[in-house]
Symmetry: C2
Subunit: 185 residues, 2 copies
DNA sequence: AGACTGATGCAAGAAATTTGCTTTAAGCTG
DNA sequence: CAGCTTAAAGCAAATTTCTTGCATCAGTCT
């Protein structure tokens, strides 16, 4: 039986907090489970049993970091909303911290749940913008299309090709997703 | 000084071979550095010193696995080449083994060199197809565009959303990359 | 209130990782 | 080709991390 309340929840929170604090204090390379356990006031074996290993724990924490904390801005037109959102999204995800969280989230995630969660976050944000635009009467692509044309290219480059990520690139992707793009130049 | 020949090279090969063999025999979950060292006829400390940890070693081996072993087929028309290539690429990368290699390659790769290598493999394959098509006189997009429109969506879905990867999806992406796609439906 | 159950604490044992020192062998020099 | 130099490998001891069985604790249910 899952016991969301009570001691388990307190332990989970203490451990997550310890991860965040120690990540900031000593850096991720120095993180070890015994160290985290000491900070969290918990026995190492508790962490081993609940999370298995450091990667899975870091993955859980990373997903929390990657959860968007605000709704996308409403600028009155889908293109503007999406361009602005893409630019900000890219800036966050391409930063050293963003890359680290993304990698961690993917890393310790045997069944892909955490990665799926990240994608859902983006899909939700996009869905919000599309719904607004549809209400305004704009022609809108579907969310999957925006994922393919905007999010996927950015994430691919962040993960596989560290260079060439400019705000202009994000804006171009957003524009192509909204307006379509023609035959090859 | 780098010493590509001689003992270092033999050790590297022995270790890589041991990784491949043991990965097949006992599965990745059971892989440990002492185990690999024993199989490779090498001291554990050698592996620790050269690779640092298991992830970096697996990352190196994964990149080898991901290197394409054949040139893309020539079907006489870019669209056909690209569709067929995308379909096969997706099948390989979305398979359990392909996913595992991709994750490993990203995982133990602090500076992104290995991930960049993977992307270069795809870019080379695409470049070959585009060059052929250009020679035939076809209008061709550039390789970056194909990466954005074909490879990135596939890899994003493989990493972040395990479902919905069908051959038809790969073909559609290839088609849209070549023929462009219009305004939102 | 009391029984039940899953999670945590504790501690001992096993396994892995680190590290200082020695030895080996590839590449260079004369 | 013999001798020198040096990066890399071997070895072993010390350290740290990980695993595991058992006892205890604290929610949850009746």
């Amino acid at each position: 039986m899952v016991r969301p309340g009570g001691r388990s929840a307190r332990v989970q929170q203490a451990v997550h907090t310890a991860v965040r604090e120690l990540q900031a204090e000593v850096g991720r390379a120095e993180l070890t489970i015994p160290l985290l356990a000491a900070r969290a006031g918990v026995t190492p074996s508790t962490i081993y049993r609940r999370w298995g290993d450091l990667q899975e724990l870091l993955s859980d924490v990373a997903v929390e970091h990657l959860r968007p904390d605000t709704l996308p801005e409403d600028r009155g037109r889908l293109l503007d909303d999406l361009q602005s959102w893409a630019e900000q999204f890219m800036e966050e995800m391409a930063s050293p911290a963003g890359r680290a969280y993304t990698r961690d989230a993917l890393l310790g995630d045997p069944d892909g749940d955490n990665a799926g969660q990240c994608s859902d976050y983006a899909a939700d944000q996009i869905g919000t913008m599309l719904a607004r635009a549809a209400e305004r009467g704009e022609d809108v692509p579907d969310a999957e299309t925006v994922l393919d044309r905007v999010v996927a290219p950015m994430m691919y480059r962040i993960l596989f090709r560290p260079d060439g990520l400019t705000p202009a690139y994000a804006r171009r992707l957003a524009q192509e997703a909204v307006e379509g793009f023609g035959a090859p130049r």
